[in-house]
Amino acid sequence: MAVLANAAPHAQPHSNSAEHDHEAHLREEHLMLDPRPRGEMNAMVMDSMHATGWKFWVIASILAVIVVICLGYYWGLMISEGMVVAGINRPIYWGIFLVNTVFWIGISHAGTFVSALLRVFKAEFRRPFTRAAELMTTFGLVQAGLSIFMHMGRVWLAFWLFPYPNERGLWPNFHSPLSWDFLAINTYLMSSTMYLFLPLIPDLAMARDRSTGWRKVLYRILALGFRGTESEWTHLRFAMNLFAFAILPVMFSVHTIVSWDFAAAMRPGWNSTIFGPYFVVGALQSGLSAVAMVLIVIRGNMKNMKYFIRPEHLDAIGKLMLIISMAWAYFFFNDYMVQWYGGDSWTKVLLKFHEEGPLGWMWMSMLILNVALPWLILWNKNWRRNPVILFTVGFLINIAMWFERYIIIPTSLSINRFPFTYQLYKPGVEVQLSIGTLALFILLYMLASRIIPLVPVWEVQEGQMAHSLRKFGKEHVVTVSDLE
């Protein structure tokens, strides 16, 4: 078996030009059937990190300014003035900060889903973009963590969350879903960062071998002295397989526990037994859409990425988005149906407020953008493969998923069992801080794309080794060998 990507390792004598055309089409279509020498792929990935135009730095500078103003200044203002500059007030004490927390944790689910679940099931199309998705997990969780700190208000007392003996006689209440959140989000953040780093080590070693100056020093430190010996690969393989299986229940637990922040409360609209899986599916819905958006941006703007990320990958993610959209619709309807049928008067008032209240447009948009739009568009293969269409669908799904969290949290809190406290939520500095977290996420991702090889070259090469074309009668078909 050839290690080196052979330009035509499966070549057969061609009986006619139609066969040749079909074979050429398959190679053009599938990255795994279009191998290039490993050295060339390494050079392409290194080049993609180094080729930075002025537009990149202009955008990065604008984002940095937004981060400084929206995140630095306005958070500082909130710390100095108190939560009065935020819009939360009776009866809405949970506002956009928690909407953003749930949203970003949702975004973070895609990395694990794409990388771990597809690795477990050996879905080959995952290979070129697992790292791009994993990176979203880590940076998404950073934004979720920041949003929680914003919500705390007196953020300098965050260390009170830690269980340690103290003179105040305080101890975290481990009966509380908020404490479980603390454990689950930290577990997930650490696990996903480690899971990002392990398969990155061979690519850091590759980058080390091809760099000079400060990059050489950085990659040398991060590659830890990796050479690729038999034992190093064995330990890595064991660890990556173990991580792939173990991080999945952690991923499911995180958003389930986030859902319990609401579901454990005896409150109409929140107290639902199906909130756990409903939140998990919602997280995948927004996360996968975000992965699609990121891949399209990478493909369109980073050098050589059109070779690694092809329409077949957009097609595969589009299919996943369609399936998850159906699952989300199922869970939404299940949750809605049981509440509607229950007949509780306060629940009826809440559902009517969601649908016909001043934010009814948001509820309707959520359904249209989360269900109608993907179902109408993503069934079509050509549309799934169109970067502009897929990006637009992904963007609108993310808007819808943000609306969903907004409806669940501040909108549901607007009305309660005390009609004299009814009040709509009017955000204050939350708006600027939300823009700041979004800008920080994009900025971190952009900067990381200049330092971290976004394509796991060794995984791509391994996949290309495993794929071949086999002829059945007159038809060439793709076959995959299990090399593990």
């Binding site: 078996m1 481990f174 070693a205 690729g228 190093e232 637990s253």
Partner: protein, 174 residues
């Protein structure tokens, strides 16, 4: 005692490397005197090499137990020492305990798996090592520890089987 030398034979592909591994065994080089370095994970079975073992699964299991013990500390000892009445629940209630135990067990397991790779692979290790950058370009290197008098025979055999180069392995700063 004769000092052994280290040869580095660089192959372009798995097939000649696998043949070279077999040839080395045939001419009396012990398996533990050969090390394979590659830019992708090549299984032992492909090269006909002895099965590699790893302590990572054992360390993971140990970490899971340690994490669970920490979880038990938080879930059992903490509420006993700082009792809180939450909605009439027991001081040490069942379902919340499961959540804390699960998260801490998984955290312990995953951290120890990660550290297990470091321990087993002796990472980080920045001292000079036998290596050539061509390996990360897809070549396969055989590091062969042999006696000086065996060198010429091994070099000839490796070259005959398709090695692109056979030379004295020099430890270099990576």
């Amino acid at each position: 005692m004769t000092e052994k030398t280290m040869l580095l034979a660089l192959f372009p592909d798995i097939d000649p490397a696998a043949q070279a591994v077999q040839k080395l065994r045939d001419i009396g080089v012990r398996d533990d005197h050969v090390n394979v370095i590659s830019g992708i994970p090549v299984t032992e079975a492909m090269l006909g090499r002895p099965k590699q073992t790893s302590n990572v699964p054992r360390l993971s299991a140990g970490g899971a137990v340690a994490g669970m013990l920490l979880g038990m500390f938080l879930a059992f000892w903490a509420p006993s020492s700082y009792p809180l009445n939450v909605g009439g629940q027991a001081i040490i209630p069942g379902p919340p305990t499961v959540v804390v135990l699960f998260e801490m067990t998984m955290l312990g397991m995953l951290i120890s798996t990660f550290l297990g790779v470091f321990l087993d692979s002796r990472f980080p290790s920045y001292e000079p090592k036998e290596y050539v950058p061509e390996i990360s370009d897809g070549k396969i290197a055989l590091l062969i520890e042999c006696l000086p008098e065996e060198e010429s025979q091994i070099e000839a055999e490796m070259t005959r089987l398709g090695a692109e180069s056979v030379k004295h392995a020099e430890a270099q700063t990576l």
